[in-house]
């Protein structure tokens, strides 16, 4: 401690001089204090809960966390000072915040895995619900998996070209008011509620085909309304990362601008663009609300034709099974949820791998 401390905190200095080798006012807690305190409190609260016959892991964690905050703050106030005590309290709070976020993630993944594995097998993935009464111990989600793949596939076919070309416009060509407007409205479009995207297609379909017409194509269009802004955003970000020197070198060689974009800019950014598109796919593949409105929620048979008849998809399958409400329906819903999460996670991880291994090396 330096001279100013001596002047402003004479008591602290006095105390330390009186007992130089012990913890004293104005000193500091040893580094191992937090983990040791935490371990001790965990054991104490576990013991207390057992004695009180109130054993419950959730309660244990909450009690331990609260007790830790109280103890570490008090200890720090006594041994250190109130500023450091506040710092230690906030540190504990911040750790708890992260812990809180992990509770839903872990419990959700665990529940879906534990409940979903019961019914998820080859049979479940290879048959539809055609001819299966709601409570029958049979049936599967093949039609829903197929529908999901068809609908999201078409949605990707629509959104990727539009989204990518818009991103190219924004980065390579755009200037002035049109660019500002597009940037702004792409942001606005990101915030469109999914159900409104569904209603948009419903309204469009009523105008073109009359009321009551539902099919896979309508679902795909509503999904692409949600997917386009995501694709634009991520592609734009990636195209901006391409160094300008590459473009200039290409122009210097007399390559036209459009070929520069196609042969120089896009290949450089392709890893990031692929990642962005896969993340966008992962986002829309789980969309439910627009598909209930546009692709129907009561299809039971295999239908691979996007322009004729209702088409089931995995998210809608989960929803409609839950609405039926029986035990067997919940089993189907969990199994379908596990399938859906597996598909989403696969997209997610492949996207990370692509961005890691195919990204251009920084110079």
């Amino acid at each position: 401690m330096s001279a100013p401390t001596q002047l402003s905190e004479p008591i602290a200095e006095d105390a330390r001089m009186a007992a130089p080798n012990t913890l004293s006012l104005g000193g500091s807690l040893p580094r191992f204090t937090p983990p040791v305190t935490l371990a001790v409190l965990l054991l104490v609260s576990a013991g207390a809960l057992f004695l009180l016959d109130a054993w419950n892991p959730a309660v244990l964690v909450i009690v331990t966390a609260v007790a830790y905050m109280v103890v570490i703050t008090l200890a720090s106030v006594i041994v250190e000072n109130s500023r450091k005590a506040k710092d230690r309290l906030v540190t504990a709070v911040v750790y708890v915040c992260f812990g809180i976020a992990m509770v839903p993630l872990v419990s959700l993944l665990w529940t879906v895995l534990a409940e979903g594995i019961v019914r998820l097998d080859g049979y479940f993935l290879s048959v539809s619900m055609n001819g299966v009464t709601p409570s029958m111990d049979a049936g599967g989600a093949y039609h829903a998996v197929l529908g999901t793949l068809v609908i999201t596939g078409i949605a990707a076919l629509i959104s990727v070209p539009i989204g990518l070309m818009t991103a190219i416009y924004l980065v390579e060509y755009g200037r002035g008011r049109l660019k500002t407007a597009i940037t702004f409205f792409v942001d606005v479009m990101t915030g469109i509620p999914s159900i409104v995207a569904g209603l948009f297609v419903v309204a469009l379909w009523i105008m073109i085909f009359g009321p009551g017409e539902t099919n896979g194509l309508a679902g795909a269009i509503s999904l692409s309304v949600l997917m386009i802004p995501v694709v634009v955003r991520s592609c734009e970000e990636m195209l901006r990362l391409v160094p300008n020197e590459l473009r200039e070198a290409s122009y210097a060689l007399g390559v036209p601008k459009w070929l520069t974009v196609l042969k120089v800019v896009l290949p450089t950014a392709i890893a990031g663009i692929t990642t962005g598109i896969m993340l966008a796919l992962a986002r829309v593949i789980g969309e439910t609300a627009p598909l209930i409105l546009t692709a129907g929620s009561s299809a039971v048979a295999i239908n691979a034709n996007p322009v004729e008849g209702q088409m089931m998809s995995l998210p809608v399958f989960i929803y409609s099974q839950v609405r039926m409400g029986g035990a067997i329906n919940y089993e189907r819903a969990w199994a379908a949820a596990l399938t859906l999460i597996a598909i989403v996670m696969l997209l997610f991880f492949v996207a990370r791998l692509v961005s890691r291994f195919f990204a251009p090396k920084a110079r």
Binding site: K84, K86, S194, F200, A203, P256, W258, I341
Partner: protein
């Protein structure tokens, strides 16, 4: 790596116009314009299709709670209770999620061990990857079961507080449950925005605070929070926009009724989005048109919130 805008620095040399250039440039611009057309179409079609029912409506659309639209004669419906439920659910989610999200962002940027910080951030991002229907299934299949005893406890000790007045729903399928699930869903959005601005806090500000003897918390309070506030607000509003429009979690968890109710532990309330999803398959008469009108209200609310959020965020960029 340069960050200058290539559209202004890299001009095509003037000369003969190549046909490829013209086609490519125009198709790029066409895609951009198509997006504007789609967005205008969303608004225009919703207005056009809701017109029918709104003119036939015998009740005031904005001040009525009941929903009697599945008829061809004298439909009477309004969005009052629905709009209230939508805002209430989103508000619960926002109140619960924002402090936790800020805590997580601080944890990842300033507290977590450097080596695993990226992995922990990735875990939080995973929350955003889980489909909303799975959140709904988890909510009704697991969460409400856990919450029901907690609600009874809450009512026993805090029942005097108007929001927590009984009788408690025995199933746990209440607005509070829906709000909690919505909070989980918007957590990664707010966290991501906050984390981004925390990472942008100039190192000189942080080091200056620490050099003056500030503890880590004082450094955060003095250097990080003031700098990051617009980003946090913007992130919270984006989260709010998401919570307002979220359909499935609410539709699956809440046991709905079309009343304006402040009692979070009782079953009741309903949101616009969930109402549309539940009612659409059974809609007849003016039903579909009326639901589209409700969707238009939702569209307007989320549009305002999102535009305000973008405004806040973009203002930060100008000053940063």
């Amino acid at each position: 790596m340069t960050t200058t805008d290539p559209s202004t620095t890299a001009h095509v040399p003037r000369g003969k116009r190549r046909i490829g250039d013209v086609v490519f440039a125009n198709s790029a611009r066409g895609s951009g314009i198509l997006i504007l057309v789609i967005l205008a179409g969303v608004a225009a079609f919703l207005v056009a299709q809701s017109f029918d029912s709104l003119t036939a409506n015998t009740a005031n659309f904005l001040t009525t709670s009941e929903w009697d639209a599945n008829t061809r004669e004298a439909p009477a419906f309004g969005v009052l209770a629905l709009a209230f439920g939508t805002v209430l659910g989103a508000a619960i989610a926002l109140v619960l999620a924002t402090p936790v999200a800020i805590g997580i962002a601080l944890f990842i940027v300033y507290y977590a061990p450097r080596r695993i910080a990226a992995v922990l951030g990735y875990l939080v991002d995973l929350l955003a990857a889980i489909p909303s229907v799975v959140y709904g299934l988890w909510g009704i299949g697991w969460l409400v079961v856990q919450l029901a005893p907690f609600y009874t406890w809450l009512e026993t000790y805090f029942g005097w507080f108007p929001l927590f007045a009984g009788p408690v729903s025995t199933t746990g399928r209440t607005m509070l449950s829906a709000g909690i699930v919505l909070a989980v869903m918007i957590l990664p959005i707010i966290t991501a925005m906050s984390r981004d601005v925390f990472l942008q806090v100039p190192q000189s500000h942080r080091e200056a605070a620490l050099a003056l003897g500030a503890t880590r918390w004082e450094m955060i309070r003095m250097a990080v929070i003031p700098f990051g506030r617009p980003g946090i607000i913007g992130g919270a509003m984006l989260g709010l926009g998401r919570a307002l429009g979220e359909t499935m979690a609410v539709a699956m968890i809440l046991s709905p009724s079309l009343v304006v109710s402040w009692f979070l532990l009782q079953s009741g309330n309903q949101t616009i989005a969930a109402h549309i999803a539940l009612q659409y398959p059974e809609a007849t008469g003016y039903g579909v048109s009326a639901l589209i009108a409700a969707g238009l209200v939702l569209f307007a609310i989320t549009l305002l919130v999102n535009m305000a959020a973008r405004f806040v965020v973009s203002r930060r960029k100008e000053f940063a």
